[in-house]
Symmetry: C2
Subunit: 319 residues, 2 copies
């Protein structure tokens, strides 16, 4: 099958999946296509959902998809949580266990392997979101597991970040929440029919009041859900759309998009500049000598990099 810009823009899922794979593999053809698609992006509303393993994120995402579909929005999901049952575990490949939505053309779910993407997870996630955006998905959900730093990096790509908590979390999880507090636009207490749900809501409210977030225009709501019974998920989707409205009205939606694009651009400049610098030194005796000294620890990497940069000239570009 040939994939071209029109096929993607028309929302062909096979073509979309193929393009995403090309981008994951760093295939230049994929990048060329993404360049042509770029002017068709910037419309999707990107929602990040993060929380610890076992907090029911996947069930929640299922409900959110159903609700957005009832509101006639097209929804795409990037599942980065390796234990996600949405993706059936990215490590097991794309065996999608989610049955309800697989027959629906307005839903596209893509799991991403978190392995073998050293330092590239952010890049691939950003590119995947751009592909979904070009395909005409109104909503793109990024599901990540809330341990470590992944979810913070990924939150960079979300207009709205929802943090999922659970009743009965131990001290350790509370500690994590302190970090998640800063990135949350919406807080969800899932499994809210379990004992202790109100305690978690209270704790979250207290933590939010102590933090600086109250000084902002947007006051993060705390919502209780029972995802397995679709309880509270309509209110959650309302909250997402409220935040979307807020972002657009305040100009922050466009600001977010430009910040991402500029960062993407800066990363590309870094890669391309370093590649060109290293390429120009190929087989240069001075460079080989530099590497040998690095190997023997006669020179440190900082001084070696400064040495290499001596070969670089930069002048202003023309209009």
């Amino acid at each position: 099958m040939k994939i071209d810009a029109q096929t993607i823009i028309r929302g062909n899922q096979l073509a979309g999946a193929r393009l995403i794979r090309q981008l994951e593999e760093g295939d230049p053809a994929g990048i060329e296509l993404l360049k042509r698609l770029y002017t068709h992006t910037g419309n999707a509303f990107v929602i990040g959902i993060t929380g610890p393993p076992g907090s029911g994120k996947s069930t929640l995402v299922n409900c959110i998809i159903t609700d957005f579909r009832q509101r006639k929005r097209k929804v795409a999901v990037v599942a980065i949580d390796p234990s996600s049952s949405i993706s059936g575990g990215a490590l097991l490949g794309d065996r999608i266990r989610m049955r309800r939505h697989t027959e629906d053309d307005g839903v596209f779910i893509r799991s991403m392997a978190t392995r073998g993407h050293l330092g590239g997870l952010s890049k691939t996630t950003r590119e995947t979101v751009l592909v979904f955006d070009a395909m005409g998905y109104d909503i793109v959900i990024i599901e990540t597991v809330g341990v470590g730093q992944d979810e913070v990096e990924i939150a960079q790509f979300a207009h709205t970040t929802a943090v999922v908590s659970l009743p009965g979390m131990g001290d350790d999880i509370q500690a994590m929440k302190a970090g998640l507090l800063e990135i949350g636009d919406i807080f969800i207490v899932n499994k809210a029919d379990s004992p202790g749900a109100d305690d978690v809501v209270l704790q979250l409210r207290n933590m939010l009041e102590m933090s600086s977030t109250l000084a902002n225009d947007w006051h993060p709501p705390i919502l209780k859900t029972v995802a397995v019974e679709s309880d509270g998920t309509t209110e959650l989707v309302d909250a997402f759309l409220d935040h979307h409205q807020y972002l657009i009205a305040s100009g922050k939606f466009g600001e977010h998009n430009f910040k991402w694009e500029f960062e993407f651009f800066r990363q590309l400049v870094m890669q391309m500049a370093a590649e060109r610098l290293l390429d120009s030194q190929k087989d240069s005796p001075a460079f080989l000598n530099l590497l040998e000294n690095l190997k023997q620890r006669k020179i440190d990497p900082f001084s070696a990099a400064e040495g290499l940069l001596k070969g670089m000239k930069s002048k202003r570009i023309n209009a």
Copy 2:
């Protein structure tokens, strides 16, 4: 207190802690000092320990420290697991709950915040390991939580990676293990006095036999431990030292070190080259125009980066 190379090399912990903080903050004074320390590094044996939350990694690390101390090795620990009880949770700062070793000059424990280090966790971890190395620690243990990609990135900095499993892990965890299988040099089944421990050992053995690792010279051992009772931890430390011997005899120890240094060097080249390129365009009308087009999505980030790179010239460096 003045921190200089000699103070660090003599192993002063206050000076070491201060230098690590400087490096975390990107303080140029810290980098200058690290440059001078560099020739004193390359000796430490770096062990990565990873596993899911609740697998008892911290207790295990405690036992490993005790054992290495009995063998007269100096041990430093970088705890990156946000829920680690070794570090008391990096998010809670450096409140070290571990009491047994705090009075011991031959042990240095440092927790690292995984938040606010976007893309910088690897860099800071590497720099911290170098500081410990220069301080004369024979063993550096990196403790990470085995969810997401952090531990894979961190495994890049470990000569030996140990993966901790538990009896009674569900399917989700088994899925994760498939990814961890590739990075493990040693497998630990902790809490081995619980039912199902032999099943996990068997599963791991089967998975290892199916994987390509058997083609290597090193066949990863599977060890059973009960860390709370210090059971099996001496055998574990023996296995670490066996792998250390194997790496040195095969030349892989030095290869690892050089791979890390080269990657560190390449990252520095990327940053420095991009900074210089962007700096040289400051207030350039053509560049401001480029950014405006990027903002309005009239140009894609790839083409914008290519445009900027036109201003860059690279020639060979001299010997």
